[in-house]
Symmetry: C2
Amino acid sequence: MCSNVFWGTLIEVLGRERPVGRIAVTDGMADAAVAILEDAGHEVVLAHYTPEELRAGSLAEFDAVVVRSATKMSSEVIQASCSGGRLGFIGRAGVGVDNIDINSATDNRIVVCNTPGASSRSVVELTIGHLIATTRLITRADRSLRSGDWAKKSLRGSELGGKRLGLIGFGRIARGVAELASAFGMEVRTFDPFVSAKQAEDLGCQMHDDVDDLFRNCTHISVHCNLSDETHHLVNADRLAIMPTSAPDGTPCGNHVVNCARGGIVDEIAVLEALEDGTLASAALDVFEVEPAGDNPLLQHERFHGSPHIGAATLEAQTRVGTEMAGLLISFFKGENPESAIN
Amino acid sequence: MCSNVFWGTLIEVLGRERPVGRIAVTDGMADAAVAILEDAGHEVVLAHYTPEELRAGSLAEFDAVVVRSATKMSSEVIQASCSGGRLGFIGRAGVGVDNIDINSATDNRIVVCNTPGASSRSVVELTIGHLIATTRLITRADRSLRSGDWAKKSLRGSELGGKRLGLIGFGRIARGVAELASAFGMEVRTFDPFVSAKQAEDLGCQMHDDVDDLFRNCTHISVHCNLSDETHHLVNADRLAIMPTSAPDGTPCGNHVVNCARGGIVDEIAVLEALEDGTLASAALDVFEVEPAGDNPLLQHERFHGSPHIGAATLEAQTRVGTEMAGLLISFFKGENPESAIN
């Protein structure tokens, strides 16, 4: 079938001619996922390669490669990996594909897949955790205990219930946050130019057409969009300045910003200044403009707390990432188009 | 009307003969609550008194006094406060009445009231906050960022969803926690000898008759009972040792203990040893056997975090405490029996 047309379609060639394949896993994978692939007859090679080895074509003897963020699949690496005429699949065990040159993969007829849903639940829970930790001063409380203080009097926080939460973006994670925030008694609003007002309203959230309106109405903001030219520094000094400082019922709870999405959407210098001049009561970030965050002065502010990009860092997310990727590979080798194919 | 019987009933004397009264507020009160009382015609005096002043009878010229935890209403103070024949009401703006000699108040025909419901919501939210902070290592994450590390790899946590949460006690706060934990996808179980299995089941929680069974079945334990002889060190080494280390779906999430109720219910030495030998994956305490907690070695453990008894330390709880207390005072001066009268 189609053997005279070597690149008839990628799926025909790699799928039908290689029902089982040789898979390189370069940044680790959950045991359960490896077992699924081996049970399906595939050969799984768990090995890390240096950039030099990758550029020298170490992946050319594989039909598929699964990476996380450590392995950089640049155009040069992809070219070298295709030299054997085998590689047809790059799997990103996770969400962001910044480390894969998608155009080069497409030019070389390589399917690129990620596992966008596997970590959603973990990010949702971390977002709610950061919301409570920031409004109840949990990290500051723990710091005070460790230093021998009993700073009960200076640790007055505020409840989430009765406050208005603004979600920037209304994708899978934001919807999970909305559901839980509603259970806490928050009123949830959102801004997402790619989602209809009706879709948001069906989930009990009011949609704003203008992101400034979201800031004007919400004491609590949580970021749930991708980083792009449009969203870069979307949370900036001007918008922080128009947030109300009191809840709808008049409680002077101050303003709070949480970002567990992508660094760069929040202007960190603006956040530090807003914490210093009282525009913001607190801020919590899991993601930063530059990672590792290193000596960012924001990290030292008393009313800031953060975590080093651990939204997906749970046992459950890592297991789901693996089993979801195994499913994508199996479907690829069967000649089907994998569900999360990006190109 | 009963004027010939000076102590006919307390309510008759103080209520009918003094429809408006003079109220001392010794540990502060929300402005809104003071306004309610003044609008009702009462005189409110906000002043702090030293123990010496209290023993000398500074409260004798008042019909009612509202305290928090700082003012100690010992038998001696109560006796002195009654010397004017006026004081008929001691209000505790908060829950615990350890600082009031209830027997002495009763002997002197003084009604004692607290505001048990005002802070429930705040404690519920803090409990969920501590549950997420402890399973997602939020305080440790923030500590690592502040020290210049990017400890992403060593901060793998676990989700609440799919885990089994055991609630010790099933009163107002536990029910609020149960509702939210269910929204996170937790399976909630409880032990409370004063609540019927049916009441718990109606709220979606399975009731265990034996507290050991709760520990045997739950990877996550949260304390929501009073401190008594029966509950002292209820969370101890033997019970921590029988907790399962994996969730119902097999996820090896480890065991976690949270206490936002009362110090002394959790054996802190047992918790420290359990953290050290791996029996516990984490622990979070808002309350301690000795407060201020001072140099308790538990506070320094890497997988512990805590807060200095801030369950009710929110703007909302303090406002509700005040307005609830104002309502109790108004009902007392009307000659009604205040709803939360303890004696």
